[in-house]
Symmetry: C2
Subunit: 113 residues, 2 copies
Amino acid sequence: MNTNSPFLCGLDAALRLIGGKWKPLILYFLQKSACRYGELKRSVNGISDKVLIQQLKELEANGVITRTDYKEIPPRVDYSLTPLGKSLVETLRPLCKWGEDNEETIKSKLVLR
Amino acid sequence: MNTNSPFLCGLDAALRLIGGKWKPLILYFLQKSACRYGELKRSVNGISDKVLIQQLKELEANGVITRTDYKEIPPRVDYSLTPLGKSLVETLRPLCKWGEDNEETIKSKLVLR
DNA sequence: TCAAGTACTTACCTTTTTGTGTGTAGGGAG
DNA sequence: CTCCCTACACACAAAAAGGTAAGTACTTGA
Protein backbone atom coordinates (compact mmCIF):
# COMPACT_ATOMS: atom_id res chain seq x y z
CA MET A 1 0.00 0.00 0.00
CA ASN A 2 1.61 3.25 -1.07
CA THR A 3 1.65 6.54 0.76
CA ASN A 4 -0.91 8.44 -1.29
CA SER A 5 -3.51 5.74 -0.94
CA PRO A 6 -6.66 6.73 0.88
CA PHE A 7 -6.50 3.37 2.63
CA LEU A 8 -4.42 2.24 5.53
CA CYS A 9 -3.88 -1.20 4.02
CA GLY A 10 -5.68 -3.70 1.80
CA LEU A 11 -7.67 -4.83 4.77
CA ASP A 12 -8.83 -1.33 5.44
CA ALA A 13 -9.86 -0.91 1.82
CA ALA A 14 -11.89 -4.11 1.89
CA LEU A 15 -13.53 -3.25 5.19
CA ARG A 16 -14.79 0.02 3.76
CA LEU A 17 -17.04 -2.04 1.53
CA ILE A 18 -18.29 -4.54 4.06
CA GLY A 19 -18.09 -2.61 7.32
CA GLY A 20 -21.22 -1.78 9.22
CA LYS A 21 -23.63 -3.73 11.29
CA TRP A 22 -25.62 -5.38 8.52
CA LYS A 23 -23.53 -5.61 5.38
CA PRO A 24 -21.90 -8.94 6.22
CA LEU A 25 -25.28 -10.52 6.76
CA ILE A 26 -26.67 -9.07 3.55
CA LEU A 27 -23.76 -10.53 1.63
CA TYR A 28 -24.19 -13.78 3.48
CA PHE A 29 -27.73 -14.11 2.17
CA LEU A 30 -27.02 -12.89 -1.33
CA GLN A 31 -24.17 -15.37 -1.58
CA LYS A 32 -26.72 -18.14 -1.98
CA SER A 33 -28.90 -16.49 -4.60
CA ALA A 34 -30.51 -13.24 -5.66
CA CYS A 35 -33.08 -11.97 -3.19
CA ARG A 36 -36.08 -9.73 -3.39
CA TYR A 37 -36.19 -6.77 -1.09
CA GLY A 38 -38.84 -8.17 1.19
CA GLU A 39 -37.19 -11.54 1.31
CA LEU A 40 -33.94 -9.95 2.38
CA LYS A 41 -35.72 -7.94 5.00
CA ARG A 42 -37.27 -11.03 6.52
CA SER A 43 -33.94 -12.84 6.43
CA VAL A 44 -31.96 -10.03 7.98
CA ASN A 45 -34.05 -10.13 11.08
CA GLY A 46 -34.45 -6.85 12.89
CA ILE A 47 -33.22 -4.42 10.28
CA SER A 48 -35.39 -1.42 9.48
CA ASP A 49 -36.37 -0.36 5.98
CA LYS A 50 -34.33 2.76 6.17
CA VAL A 51 -31.15 1.03 7.12
CA LEU A 52 -31.61 -1.89 4.76
CA ILE A 53 -32.18 0.41 1.79
CA GLN A 54 -29.23 2.51 2.81
CA GLN A 55 -26.88 -0.46 3.03
CA LEU A 56 -28.15 -1.86 -0.25
CA LYS A 57 -27.58 1.47 -1.96
CA GLU A 58 -24.06 1.67 -0.63
CA LEU A 59 -23.28 -1.85 -1.69
CA GLU A 60 -24.71 -1.09 -5.12
CA ALA A 61 -22.80 2.18 -5.44
CA ASN A 62 -19.65 0.35 -4.51
CA GLY A 63 -20.18 -2.21 -7.21
CA VAL A 64 -20.68 -5.14 -4.87
CA ILE A 65 -24.32 -5.88 -5.67
CA THR A 66 -26.74 -5.22 -8.54
CA ARG A 67 -30.30 -4.03 -8.23
CA THR A 68 -32.81 -5.34 -10.73
CA ASP A 69 -36.13 -3.60 -11.04
CA TYR A 70 -38.71 -5.65 -12.92
CA LYS A 71 -40.93 -2.61 -13.34
CA GLU A 72 -43.94 -4.54 -12.24
CA ILE A 73 -46.85 -3.58 -10.10
CA PRO A 74 -46.85 -4.43 -7.29
CA PRO A 75 -43.13 -3.58 -7.33
CA ARG A 76 -40.64 -6.37 -7.76
CA VAL A 77 -36.95 -5.71 -7.25
CA ASP A 78 -34.13 -8.05 -6.53
CA TYR A 79 -30.54 -7.84 -5.49
CA SER A 80 -27.61 -10.04 -6.44
CA LEU A 81 -23.84 -10.09 -6.18
CA THR A 82 -21.74 -8.62 -9.00
CA PRO A 83 -18.57 -10.45 -10.09
CA LEU A 84 -16.66 -8.10 -7.79
CA GLY A 85 -19.04 -8.94 -4.98
CA LYS A 86 -18.63 -12.63 -5.62
CA SER A 87 -14.86 -12.44 -5.53
CA LEU A 88 -15.07 -10.42 -2.33
CA VAL A 89 -17.37 -12.90 -0.67
CA GLU A 90 -14.99 -15.69 -1.62
CA THR A 91 -12.17 -14.08 0.33
CA LEU A 92 -14.44 -13.81 3.34
CA ARG A 93 -14.88 -17.53 3.61
CA PRO A 94 -11.88 -18.16 5.90
CA LEU A 95 -12.86 -15.29 8.16
CA CYS A 96 -16.43 -16.50 8.26
CA LYS A 97 -15.34 -20.00 9.13
CA TRP A 98 -12.96 -18.68 11.77
CA GLY A 99 -15.87 -16.80 13.30
CA GLU A 100 -17.96 -19.95 13.38
CA ASP A 101 -15.16 -22.07 14.80
CA ASN A 102 -14.39 -19.54 17.49
CA GLU A 103 -17.91 -18.44 18.22
CA GLU A 104 -17.87 -19.64 21.81
CA THR A 105 -14.56 -17.99 22.54
CA ILE A 106 -15.68 -14.73 21.00
CA LYS A 107 -19.00 -14.88 22.79
CA SER A 108 -17.32 -15.35 26.15
CA LYS A 109 -14.86 -12.52 25.68
CA LEU A 110 -16.85 -9.93 23.86
CA VAL A 111 -18.67 -7.24 25.75
CA LEU A 112 -22.01 -7.43 24.01
CA ARG A 113 -24.08 -4.32 23.85
CA MET B 1 -24.85 -20.48 13.26
CA ASN B 2 -27.73 -21.33 15.53
CA THR B 3 -30.67 -19.20 16.49
CA ASN B 4 -29.65 -18.24 20.01
CA SER B 5 -26.26 -16.98 18.92
CA PRO B 6 -25.62 -13.31 19.56
CA PHE B 7 -24.05 -13.18 16.10
CA LEU B 8 -25.64 -12.98 12.73
CA CYS B 9 -23.09 -15.30 11.18
CA GLY B 10 -19.43 -16.25 11.57
CA LEU B 11 -18.46 -13.22 9.59
CA ASP B 12 -20.37 -11.00 11.94
CA ALA B 13 -18.71 -12.61 14.94
CA ALA B 14 -15.27 -12.05 13.49
CA LEU B 15 -16.00 -8.48 12.53
CA ARG B 16 -16.92 -7.66 16.11
CA LEU B 17 -13.29 -8.20 16.98
CA ILE B 18 -11.72 -6.27 14.15
CA GLY B 19 -14.33 -3.65 13.41
CA GLY B 20 -13.54 -0.01 14.01
CA LYS B 21 -11.49 2.49 12.17
CA TRP B 22 -8.06 1.51 13.41
CA LYS B 23 -8.08 -2.12 14.49
CA PRO B 24 -7.15 -3.59 11.12
CA LEU B 25 -4.12 -1.34 10.96
CA ILE B 26 -3.09 -2.16 14.50
CA LEU B 27 -3.24 -5.86 13.69
CA TYR B 28 -1.39 -5.19 10.47
CA PHE B 29 1.54 -3.75 12.40
CA LEU B 30 1.50 -6.30 15.20
CA GLN B 31 1.50 -9.08 12.64
CA LYS B 32 5.16 -8.39 11.97
CA SER B 33 6.33 -8.22 15.57
CA ALA B 34 5.51 -6.97 19.03
CA CYS B 35 5.39 -3.20 19.25
CA ARG B 36 5.81 -0.67 21.98
CA TYR B 37 3.02 1.79 22.54
CA GLY B 38 4.85 4.77 21.11
CA GLU B 39 6.06 2.79 18.16
CA LEU B 40 2.52 1.76 17.36
CA LYS B 41 1.34 5.30 17.70
CA ARG B 42 3.89 6.55 15.23
CA SER B 43 3.04 3.73 12.81
CA VAL B 44 -0.69 4.20 12.98
CA ASN B 45 -0.44 7.72 11.73
CA GLY B 46 -3.08 10.13 12.92
CA ILE B 47 -4.58 8.17 15.78
CA SER B 48 -4.97 9.91 19.12
CA ASP B 49 -3.81 8.51 22.45
CA LYS B 50 -7.33 8.07 23.67
CA VAL B 51 -8.48 6.06 20.72
CA LEU B 52 -5.32 3.98 20.41
CA ILE B 53 -5.47 2.95 24.07
CA GLN B 54 -9.15 2.23 23.75
CA GLN B 55 -8.68 -0.02 20.74
CA LEU B 56 -5.74 -1.78 22.35
CA LYS B 57 -7.77 -2.43 25.47
CA GLU B 58 -10.62 -3.86 23.48
CA LEU B 59 -8.31 -6.08 21.48
CA GLU B 60 -6.70 -7.22 24.70
CA ALA B 61 -10.04 -7.85 26.42
CA ASN B 62 -11.11 -9.86 23.41
CA GLY B 63 -8.04 -12.02 23.62
CA VAL B 64 -6.55 -10.90 20.33
CA ILE B 65 -3.47 -9.17 21.70
CA THR B 66 -1.37 -9.28 24.85
CA ARG B 67 -0.04 -6.35 26.79
CA THR B 68 3.34 -6.72 28.43
CA ASP B 69 4.39 -4.20 31.03
CA TYR B 70 8.10 -4.31 31.80
CA LYS B 71 7.57 -2.24 34.94
CA GLU B 72 10.43 0.02 34.05
CA ILE B 73 10.85 3.71 34.42
CA PRO B 74 10.41 5.41 32.01
CA PRO B 75 7.50 3.09 31.25
CA ARG B 76 7.96 0.31 28.74
CA VAL B 77 5.01 -1.65 27.49
CA ASP B 78 4.55 -3.69 24.39
CA TYR B 79 1.75 -5.36 22.54
CA SER B 80 1.76 -8.59 20.59
CA LEU B 81 -0.69 -11.00 19.00
CA THR B 82 -2.02 -13.92 21.04
CA PRO B 83 -2.39 -17.31 19.33
CA LEU B 84 -6.02 -16.43 18.76
CA GLY B 85 -4.96 -13.12 17.25
CA LYS B 86 -2.45 -14.84 15.03
CA SER B 87 -5.00 -17.30 13.71
CA LEU B 88 -7.39 -14.44 13.10
CA VAL B 89 -4.84 -12.42 11.21
CA GLU B 90 -4.11 -15.45 9.07
CA THR B 91 -7.68 -15.63 7.88
CA LEU B 92 -7.53 -11.97 6.95
CA ARG B 93 -4.79 -12.51 4.42
CA PRO B 94 -7.07 -13.22 1.45
CA LEU B 95 -9.24 -10.24 2.28
CA CYS B 96 -6.19 -8.06 2.68
CA LYS B 97 -4.81 -9.18 -0.65
CA TRP B 98 -8.17 -8.67 -2.31
CA GLY B 99 -8.17 -5.13 -0.98
CA GLU B 100 -4.74 -4.50 -2.40
CA ASP B 101 -5.57 -6.05 -5.76
CA ASN B 102 -8.76 -4.08 -6.07
CA GLU B 103 -7.56 -0.87 -4.52
CA GLU B 104 -8.08 1.21 -7.66
CA THR B 105 -11.57 -0.13 -8.19
CA ILE B 106 -12.52 0.50 -4.60
CA LYS B 107 -10.99 3.94 -4.64
CA SER B 108 -12.94 4.93 -7.74
CA LYS B 109 -16.27 3.69 -6.39
CA LEU B 110 -16.10 4.56 -2.75
CA VAL B 111 -17.47 7.81 -1.47
CA LEU B 112 -14.58 8.84 0.72
CA ARG B 113 -15.30 10.97 3.72
C1' DT C 1 15.09 24.25 38.22
C1' DC C 2 13.09 23.00 34.20
C1' DA C 3 12.07 20.72 29.99
C1' DA C 4 11.61 16.11 27.83
C1' DG C 5 10.24 11.37 27.44
C1' DT C 6 7.05 7.36 28.52
C1' DA C 7 2.37 5.37 28.76
C1' DC C 8 -1.49 6.51 29.75
C1' DT C 9 -6.30 9.13 31.85
C1' DT C 10 -10.10 12.27 31.93
C1' DA C 11 -13.69 15.62 30.58
C1' DC C 12 -15.93 17.33 26.88
C1' DC C 13 -17.52 17.75 22.17
C1' DT C 14 -18.46 16.44 17.20
C1' DT C 15 -19.44 13.20 13.70
C1' DT C 16 -21.16 8.97 12.10
C1' DT C 17 -24.16 5.29 12.35
C1' DT C 18 -28.35 3.22 13.44
C1' DG C 19 -33.25 3.25 14.63
C1' DT C 20 -38.42 4.89 14.77
C1' DG C 21 -42.40 6.25 12.85
C1' DT C 22 -44.98 7.85 9.31
C1' DG C 23 -45.95 8.66 4.32
C1' DT C 24 -46.12 7.56 -0.94
C1' DA C 25 -47.45 5.39 -5.66
C1' DG C 26 -50.10 2.38 -8.21
C1' DG C 27 -52.54 -1.25 -8.67
C1' DG C 28 -55.85 -5.55 -7.04
C1' DA C 29 -59.21 -7.68 -3.75
C1' DG C 30 -63.26 -7.41 -1.17
C1' DC D 1 -64.51 2.99 -1.58
C1' DT D 2 -61.37 1.42 1.38
C1' DC D 3 -57.76 -1.64 2.68
C1' DC D 4 -53.68 -4.21 1.52
C1' DC D 5 -49.49 -5.15 -1.09
C1' DT D 6 -44.64 -3.79 -2.52
C1' DA D 7 -40.45 -1.10 -2.36
C1' DC D 8 -39.16 2.58 -0.95
C1' DA D 9 -38.61 8.13 1.14
C1' DC D 10 -38.25 11.49 4.74
C1' DA D 11 -38.00 13.88 9.23
C1' DC D 12 -36.44 13.16 13.44
C1' DA D 13 -34.15 10.92 17.55
C1' DA D 14 -30.89 8.05 19.90
C1' DA D 15 -26.70 5.77 20.34
C1' DA D 16 -22.07 4.72 19.23
C1' DA D 17 -17.69 6.00 17.65
C1' DG D 18 -14.16 9.11 17.13
C1' DG D 19 -11.47 13.36 18.17
C1' DT D 20 -9.31 17.43 21.11
C1' DA D 21 -6.94 19.20 24.64
C1' DA D 22 -5.33 19.00 28.87
C1' DG D 23 -3.27 16.53 32.85
C1' DT D 24 -0.91 12.43 35.61
C1' DA D 25 3.50 10.00 37.60
C1' DC D 26 8.14 9.30 37.55
C1' DT D 27 12.94 9.88 36.07
C1' DT D 28 16.83 11.41 33.38
C1' DG D 29 19.59 15.05 31.37
C1' DA D 30 20.92 20.13 30.70
